[in-house]
Amino acid sequence: MIKIKDLKKSFNGKRVLDGVNLEIDKGKITVIIGRSGEGKSVLIKHIIGLLKPDSGQVLLEGEDLTKLDESEWNKTRRRFGMLFQGAALFDSMTVAGNVGFPLREHTNLDYKDILETVKDKLKRVGLVGVENMMPADLSGGMKKRVGLARAIIMDPEIVLFDEPTTGLDPIMSDSIADLMLDTQEQLKTTYIAITHDILLTYKIADKIAMLHNGKIIEEGGSKDIKETKNPVVRQFIEGNAEGPIRVY
């Protein structure tokens, strides 16, 4: 469904993406792993047009997204949803205001219908009776759930997840993983997640790709990755300080 071709991006002369090639399959969960600061967020921001590459392409069903202008993007972006690393909820709005925001801006539904849809989506992420709370009063895990509800409120075809479990305890992480599997199952949405949470990765991924030094150095199913001989990938999945990747 999405094909990333030789994507390159530098910031102030520092190369972050150095020719990324990756295929993302429709209706599957693709997980991109890599160390902190490797450019995972930068990569995902190229998929949804928050950043423009220096060179390379991001093809969505054959159409090069990097060539779109703002008005074309506005149409294409409605096919996407995104959950941000810190959930990125709007501080000035209640939970219901946040989750219903895309509906309010892009549809003619009236207040009652929007609230109905919002409650339904919140229930699907396991939250009941929080509609009138403010984001500042939510725990980290609840914020992620609200962010997920907001990301899927318009029933997008593709959802991007930037570190869906970072900063959560293992039990909460696992329940987010379950939620991702549940919500993905229902509509057969295409999910793309970036993370360094290896447990989450094994649990949800149909396909795993590892980003290292600005390139995808290995890709495959959970089984392929677990059995890989690539020493860099081995070091990452086993969490060793010793190995080819040097820790400064």
């Binding site: 949804i48 928050l50 993007w73 972006r77 941000f84 690393q85 501080d91 000035s92 925001f101 801006e105």
Partner: protein, 256 residues
């Protein structure tokens, strides 16, 4: 010498770059004014934030300024035996100059820096990116209503400042300095023209544009986490105040 030239060059480039970015932001924000549908709720919320919540500080500054002007000018005018001229001195200074300028500076300090803080927080916590991913244009949603609110509310606040300033002058002039009340009012009405007040209000609309634009600029392009948020607030206030005073000089010299 070379170092000095290089430093100057760098500074000049930054100034040119920032002016360019601010100009671009302004033109995009203004363009969205003419594109329906209009988000009234957003505009009204910002007008309330810039306007209603600033009334208190503006009343305070306005009245004290009028009072102090009366005292100061009385000292000077007494020497020419022209005590009753305190009235037009206060009225003209407030309407033409101090009303708009002090209102602009106070609102830049209060609403401008709060605006920069809010936008910068939205930037560093990716809320602005979130808007973009939801196919909402952040300039249209965040910048246009704020700039409009500044342009519309500053003249209203200035009218309030002018009014309480003149009242403050009257109270001091009449109750404390013993100028005849009827004479004070007559002198004020004689000398203060509609044009004086209008000149002040035009200035204040420009100040409203300046202070919201500089808040939006530093907030919108903030980087670097919590520290960046603080920097955005300070910088926007410094730039806002300097530009208000500089543009005040330019406009005043054009208006005479």
């Amino acid at each position: 010498m070379r170092e000095f030239l290089e430093e100057t060059g760098r500074k000049t480039r930054t100034v040119v770059e920032i002016s360019g970015q601010i100009g671009l932001m302004l033109s995009q924000a203004l363009m969205w004014i003419f594109v329906p549908p209009y988000k009234w709720r957003n505009i009204i919320k910002q007008m309330e934030f810039v306007g209603v919540q600033s009334v208190f500080v503006v009343v305070l500054t306005g009245s004290f300024t009028g009072m102090v002007l009366a005292l100061q000018s009385f000292e000077a005018l007494k020497r020419f035996g022209a005590e009753s001229m305190v009235a037009p001195t206060v009225a003209l200074s407030v309407a033409r100059e101090l009303g708009p300028v002090l209102t602009g500076l106070m609102v830049a300090g209060r609403a401008g820096s709060a605006m920069a803080t809010e936008l910068a927080t939205m930037r560093v916590t990716e809320q602005i990116d979130a808007l973009t991913t939801m196919a909402i244009n952040p300039t249209r949603y965040l910048i246009t209503p704020r700039i409009l609110a500044g342009i519309l509310m500053l003249p209203i606040l200035t009218i309030i400042a002018d009014f309480v300033g003149i009242i403050g002058g009257y109270v001091i002039g009449v109750k404390m300095l013993g100028i005849n009340s009827g004479v004070y009012i007559a002198r004020t009405v004689d000398y203060l023209t509609f044009g004086d007040i209008m000149d002040g209000l035009i200035k204040s609309a420009v100040f409203g544009l300046i202070l919201t634009l500089s808040a939006c600029y530093y907030g919108f392009y903030a980087t670097g986490g919590a520290e960046g948020v603080g920097k955005a607030a300070t910088r926007s206030m410094v730039l806002g105040c300097v530009l208000i005073l500089a543009s005040d000089y330019v406009m005043t010299s054009m208006m005479y």
